[in-house]
Amino acid sequence: MPGFLKEFFNRNGMGMGLTILGLVLFWTVGLIILPQLSMLDFSFRPNLPPPEIGGPKDVYTLENYKYLIFGPEGGSQDYNVVDLKVFYRTLIAAVFVTIFNLILCYPIAYYLGQTKGNHIRIFALMLIIPYWINEILRAFALRIIFGESGVLNTVLMGLGVFDTPFDFVRNDIALYAGLGYAYILLMIFPIYNVIESLDRNQIEAARDMGASWWRIHRRVVIPYAKPGISSGCTMVFMLSAGALAAPQILGGPSSLWFTQLIYQQFNDNSDWPQGAAYAVVLLVTCILLVLLAMRLFKVNMGDIGK
């Protein structure tokens, strides 16, 4: 290790080397590792008023995790049915959103990656523009459309599909559409990046050998695009499970997202350790699910983020 450091400073000079090393350490240790560990530590502590922190009552406890499973002590139910249900539903919905996004985006990514011409740049621009606009505004735009007297209801009723306005919000359709909408770019980009590097001749060759359209994708394109697909799916899953804005704005009154529970613990109940514990549970579960899926589909960690 000292050898590596010596070479590092030789190569970058003392001043530059220290600057680089300092920034990298600040980022990795100060911003990534320590805060996460700190949150983990915090989640095992009781919720105390500031003067008592560090005092005799500040001991490690599993209370916050127990709360998620069993609910408040002496509660009417054996389990914390409400929160667990929200947790479960959040994960299922995130999986659903991921699959929906993959199906929606794969053809677009394939088309963009395999077609040449000026109009592709225009398409790319059109893809990016919505993401230069505030996350809240995007969700808000969908609410205008899916609202009870929104555009969609007006149009559908005008066409005579419904007699009365359909409540897209209460039925979670607005939420799913919003979550899907929020992460389209994150799904398209990794897949596009990989497919763009796929030699067109491979597809031509497969077609030449009489492979059907479906078989070309199944045997040539999808295996090649696997790193991009897994990258996109991982990001969409993690981010939609961790979404907060879309559920707050588009979610129906009865359908909570797990992140909203965390938010409530922090902002409404002022119970930070409880919120931290929920956040840890969310993070760890999501990571485990992603690792499981990666094992299932035989993808490497190194492919993510490429």
Partner: protein
């Protein structure tokens, strides 16, 4: 071939649906910015109005949010681009055995939910703050500081990905050549590597600013006393909406399109210059390259010019145009409709008819409670300022709400006395 044509058509149909899903919401939201009802809606179209724009610019909370967002954005750009660049430089020369671990650590923030990042930032710096024995008003618990730190944690990873892509094409021999010619490491960095990285740094900076500007999940835990625009918007969206927000969205869309077009026409122009340089002889080069006219063969530039003309025209119309007459007419019409409806209801009640529905309804009749809002605000003349309660205005409290709605909006929101310029010649 028949099947090929079908495939091509279906591709285009798919693209059409896809982009409708993608862009439709923005278009519809933009339309609502010009429609007069106080609840943002595109249908039914009532009156063309520009009052939501002036309402937007008189909303102190929004303006304050924009100010905070810009401060946070600039801080995040500086911090995350420098961390991203340092991280990328480190990635290219780190000890091979550490490389995979290091890469996992610096990419992880992209995958960690923003909520978690916000919480961990808050908890960690709160603890540091306490360990140092500082008060609740110290620098370390300042909302701007926490937000910049929290956002930079993951935005730096985005920057890193952008920067690494370019850094991989950098020839290390260039730095060595500079050193060999007598430059110090800092000079070699500033004069050789930095200029080479400039396009990527610019992209990373734009990306970082946009990501910071729109971030909600992390910021919502860290903003403290400094709500950013996104936070303000979220509050508004949750507790009451006016088309002033649509107006803001429209402005952002317009600016985005504007800059995208500028960028596009610049790229095109650069291509043309390169083409010209390539074809030019030495003699021509020394005389300066003859660049084809700015517009020729540059569709983006043409659209850009049209876009500018269009915006000037719209702004011009906005200053001259007054929607009052139209609004008054719509209001009158609605009052008549409402009266008729009441009569109708009475008639029905009188007839003691048990059947509630008698065929196809007029769209206006379907959600009367939301029809309510426009009337209140139109009457009051307070542009864009309204009472959240107005949204759920009661069907029967029609007459009274006109006045009270207006008053409340002034008091509740705290913007009383901020008049729409149009209001001066109304009433």
């Amino acid at each position: 071939m028949m099947s090929e044509r079908i495939i091509r058509y279906s591709i285009w149909i798919y693209l059409g649906i896809f982009f409708a899903y993608l862009l439709g919401p923005l278009v519809i939201m933009s339309i609502t910015a010009f429609n007069s009802p106080t609840f943002p809606r595109a249908t039914p179209w009532e009156c063309l109005t520009f009052e939501w724009f002036s309402a937007l610019f008189q909303d102190q909370r929004i303006l304050n949010g924009i100010k905070n967002s810009i401060i946070v954005g600039l801080g995040t750009v500086i911090l995350s681009v420098s961390m991203g660049l340092a991280g990328a430089l480190m990635l290219t020369q780190i000890w091979p055995k550490l490389r995979a671990t290091y890469y996992t650590i610096i990419i992880a923030p992209i995958l960690i939910p923003g909520v978690v990042l916000g919480i961990s930032t808050l908890v960690f710096w709160d603890r540091i703050n306490r360990m140092l024995g500082l008060g609740a008003d110290s620098f370390l618990s300042n909302g701007l500081f926490l937000t910049i730190i929290g956002q930079s944690t993951f935005i730096a990873s985005y920057c890193l990905l952008v920067l690494v892509a370019r850094l991989q094409r950098y020839d290390l021999a260039l730095t060595e050549a500079a050193l060999d010619l007598g430059a110090s490491h800092a000079q070699a960095f500033r004069k050789i590597l930095l200029p080479f990285m400039r396009p990527a740094i610019a992209s990373a900076a734009v990306l970082a600013f946009l990501a910071s500007f729109e971030n909600y999940n992390t910021t919502t835990f860290t903003f403290g006393e400094y709500p950013t625009l996104t936070i303000e918007l979220a509050q508004k969206v949750r507790y009451g909406i006016t088309p002033a927000i649509s107006a803001l969205a429209f402005i952002i869309v317009a600016l985005t399109v504007f800059f995208a077009l500028i960028n596009e026409s610049k790229i095109k122009r650069k291509e043309q210059v390169m083409e010209a340089r390539k074809n030019a002889t030495v003699a021509e080069l020394s005389k300066g390259v003859k660049v084809p006219g700015f517009l020729s063969g540059n569709p983006a530039a043409i659209v850009l010019v049209l876009f500018c003309i269009g915006s000037v025209a719209v702004v011009g119309t906005a200053t001259a145009y007054s929607p009052d007459q139209c609004i008054a007419r719509v209001k009158e019409q609605k009052q008549i409709e409402a009266e008729e409806r009441i009569k109708e209801l009475r008639r029905k009640r009188d007839a003691d008819n048990l059947k509630k529905f008698k065929g196809v309804f007029d769209p206006d009749e379907i959600s009367p409670e939301e029809e309510e809002a426009p009337k209140q605000d139109n009457n009051s003349g307070f542009g864009g300022v309204f009472d959240p309660n107005a949204l759920s205005g009661d069907d029967d409290a029609q007459d009274g709400s006109d006045a009270s709605g207006g008053d409340e909006s002034g008091n509740n929101s705290g913007f009383g006395g901020v008049f729409d310029p149009n209001n001066l010649n109304s009433d």
